[in-house]
Structure formats: structure tokens, C-alpha cells
Symmetry: C2
Subunit: 257 residues, 2 copies
């Protein structure tokens, strides 16, 4: 998948996040925050253990009120997904089902393509410890498995929502406005001639200072210096500054003996 | 960037995470947890406000002790990055500096390439509210900007570390073991002939039941039914089950009048 930015203005994603049997209000709040960070607003709760609204969720959402205010509550997963055309279930473990397993990036690309075609999509997330049961996974077309360190695979609910929401955001908007390789802050990038001028200036001053010794090493020493300055690109202003530096150093040099 | 899995065994990442002036122990713990979820273990703290160790960090790290036990403390960013060859600074806002700005995926690819070549790399994260100051950003070769919803751009520290660690994991391991498109659970995928057998069986029974009416519609009705079963791939076992379903339905059918 190519992930270059497309320069378009991010809009709000349509994808629903469905939290099933979630226990801690803090986790619901963290999920809401992660959703809104990546432009999602449709949060659906199925049988939240501590009921709804939940002050712990509000505290943790850190201002994602837009999401919490619009939460919808359901008594069953079937009701929560009834209006959706495509549903994916997150799962950390293999299921004994013939169902495609996607990475978050693959799933996000598929969700985005279907939303572009007018479909409404949703992602199911299970309870903190136990995840989704098999009957709930069976309600989804596909399974999403987040790749993690096998030695420490326990992503919490907020983290799992964050990864999926982040990938949905990238699928919809690329990586956002692709920044230019360098912002020259009003200056022009230095040309090869600018750089040659600097290197020439430096080499002359070094020559005058007796730097190139023994003389037969001069060629390789000069090439090394050129390569140092050639390693990166500079702004015209930066090259001017470097010439000023060379000049200033020359002024401070004691007269040759 | 292509993100296909490469089937290699995930190993621990070498990249250092450097938290500068972090305030809340909870955030340090969340960062440690996110790091270890994605295989990172080198956590460096520069001037943590509440000192170290910090019980709030341990509670939040939820078992990422491997990371917390190895934390190193520094009095300055310069000391924290002294042994590193390549440093990137996360920043949510533009800086008045001529410095490349990368997306997390771009930065992760560059870090991975340099680590493959033997370099040690680190990522700087600033304090919760204020981020990194310009003098600290100046110590980095590049800036990482995480793409977010412009209406709600405030990622917390743990979330920012999670996104960067996730991208580093993907850069190093692809998306992990790429799951097969479908796991047929011991059965073979159904062949076209298997499917034809099912559709033929179904069509014959429907014909016998007088389903295709009026007769001139039969062709298009039969094609619609074929397309329903042709939409996806099935296991041989599933096709056998469907044939059993067709057979059973036929048995239950009342005799034609």
C-alpha cells in the first residue's frame, strides 16, 4: 500500500467503533480520545459493565466530548451492527473459523474503499481481558489482528482502538499533508555553485593556514572536506552563514610563524 | 512503502525512546507498556518531574517490567543521546528550523535502515503539555510529526509513543506473519467443480420445486444464485455442508401439488 499524502483536507471518518462488554470507564474514555484524535466520532457501546454515562470515561477522554456526547447504547451486538454493511472484529488470538484475517493497514484500506462506495462500516472490540466471543466474531466479515511483540502481546482496549483508528486515518487521508523535504524558511536552497563557493573559500583559507600537510595528502583531505559539506542540502542562507564562520575563524587566527 | 509481512521472527528493537521532562508517572508507564508491546526496551528518562523509580509508572506499565527495570536516567538530553548515531524528535507543531519533517512510517523506515547498517537510533518525546523545546529539537537530525485530526490534535505521551513504536515494529517486521488469506481448518479450499456440483444440485432441486417461474426468467435467476455462491471462496467442507443443507431442505419440502 502506498502511503503518500494526498494533500486533501482531513474530514471526519464514518467508521463506527463498537465496544462490546467493556469494563473500565477509563478504557472507554481512552478509546473515545483515540477515536477523535484520528477523526472518528461514532462510538457504540454494547452492555458496558458500569452503565452509561460514566464519569471515569469523561475524565479519561480529555476533551473528546464530541464522541462521548454522541455515544449510542445497545443490548446486543446484532443490534449495534444492524445498520452496517461491513463489520470487522479485532482479535488477538486465532479463531476456529474460516474467516479472513487482516492486518490493521489491510483492514483500513478495505474499510476505506467500501466507505468510498457508500457502505457503512464498523469495528468490534471485545472486553478488556476476554476479548470477543466466537458468536460475536461470527457476526463480522473479517478479523483484524494487530501485529505485536509475541513476548508481550497484551494491548489494552484504548491502545487497540488507537492503532486501528490511526490506520483508518492514514487510509483515508494518506499521511496528511506531506511535508516538503525541507522548509528553507524563506531562503532558497543553496545551489552547487553556492556550495562550491563555500568549499573554495574554506580550502583557500585552510591552505593559507598550512592545514594541508603533508602536501601529497591535500587532494584526499580536500575531498573529505567536500564530502562533509556535500552530505546534506543547505539553504542559501546557511551557506552564507558558513562562509561567515570561515571568515571569522580566519580573522581570529594568529599570524603564521 | 510496501508493508507486506516478511515472515521473519520478531526480535527486540534497538531503538531508544527518550522522554524529556515528563511529568506524570502514569504516562511513563503507558509509554513503557506501548514500547514493549512493539518490542522496544531501551527507555531513557531526562529529568522526570517526580523522580525515579515512580510507583505510578509501575502500575500503568501492566507488566512491562522488562522496560522499567532497565530505565536509564539522564540530567540532560545531550547526555541521553550521546551514544546514538541518529536521533529524531517528535513534534506536533512546526519549528522555525531547516530540518526534515517525516511521518511516523517514513521515520521508522529510515531508523530501521540505519539500524540494519549498525547505527543506534533514538526518538525524543517532550513533556506532556509543552513538548520539546527548540534547543532539544536542534539535537535531532529529523522531526517526526504524527498525522492527526486537526480538530483534536492532542495525542498524549503514551499514545504518541505507541504510534511510533507500532511503526518501528512494522518497519522491522512487516506486519508480522502475514496470515494466509483463509485458514481452511484442515479442509482443502473448494474447487470450481465442487462449487459447480453444489450449484447444480441446488438448481435441480429448485427446478423440481417449481422455483424458476416464469420459465423465461430461469436463466437470470440461476445466474443470480451462482453469483451469490461465487462471491467468496469456501472450503471443500463448507461446500459439502451446503449440499447437506440443500438436501435437508428438499426432504422437508411438502410434495408438489
Amino acid at each position: 500500500m502506498t502511503r503518500t499524502g494526498r494533500g486533501q483536507e482531513p474530514r471526519e471518518g464514518r467508521t463506527a467503533v463498537i465496544l462490546v462488554d467493556s469494563q473500565m470507564g477509563e478504557n472507554i474514555g481512552a478509546a473515545a480520545r483515540a477515536m477523535y484524535n484520528f477523526g472518528l466520532t461514532d462510538l457504540r457501546l454494547v452492555r458496558p459493565r458500569d452503565g452509561w454515562p460514566n464519569p471515569a470515561a469523561t475524565a479519561m477522554a480529555a476533551g473528546a466530548d464530541r464522541v462521548l456526547d454522541a455515544v449510542t447504547l445497545f443490548a446486543s451486538v446484532a443490534e449495534a451492527v444492524a445498520d452496517l454493511h461491513f463489520v470487522a472484529a479485532t482479535s488477538a488470538r486465532p479463531r476456529h473459523m474460516v474467516k479472513p484475517v487482516r492486518t490493521p493497514a489491510e483492514a483500513a484500506a478495505r474499510v476505506h474503499a467500501q466507505e468510498q462506495a457508500g457502505a457503512r462500516c464498523g469495528i468490534l472490540f471485545g472486553a478488556e481481558r476476554s476479548g470477543l466471543d466466537n458468536d460475536t466474531v461470527a457476526l463480522a466479515q473479517e478479523v483484524i489482528r494487530i501485529p505485536v511483540n509475541p513476548a508481550f502481546p497484551s494491548l489494552n482496549l484504548g491502545q487497540a482502538v488507537l492503532v486501528v483508528a490511526y490506520e483508518l486515518f492514514l487510509a483515508a487521508h494518506g499521511e496528511g499533508e506531506t511535508p516538503p523535504p525541507l522548509d528553507y524558511l524563506g531562503s532558497e536552497p543553496a545551489t552547487a555553485a553556492d556550495l562550491d563557493g563555500l568549499i573554495g573559500h574554506l580550502t583557500r583559507d585552510l591552505e593559507a593556514a598550512g592545514y594541508f600537510y603533508p602536501p601529497e595528502k591535500k587532494e584526499v583531505m580536500a575531498r573529505t572536506i567536500r564530502n562533509i559539506f556535500q552530505r546534506s542540502v543547505w539553504s542559501g542562507q546557511e551557506v552564507q552563514i558558513l562562509r561567515g564562520v570561515v571568515k571569522a575563524l580566519g580573522r581570529g587566527r594568529p599570524p603564521r610563524q
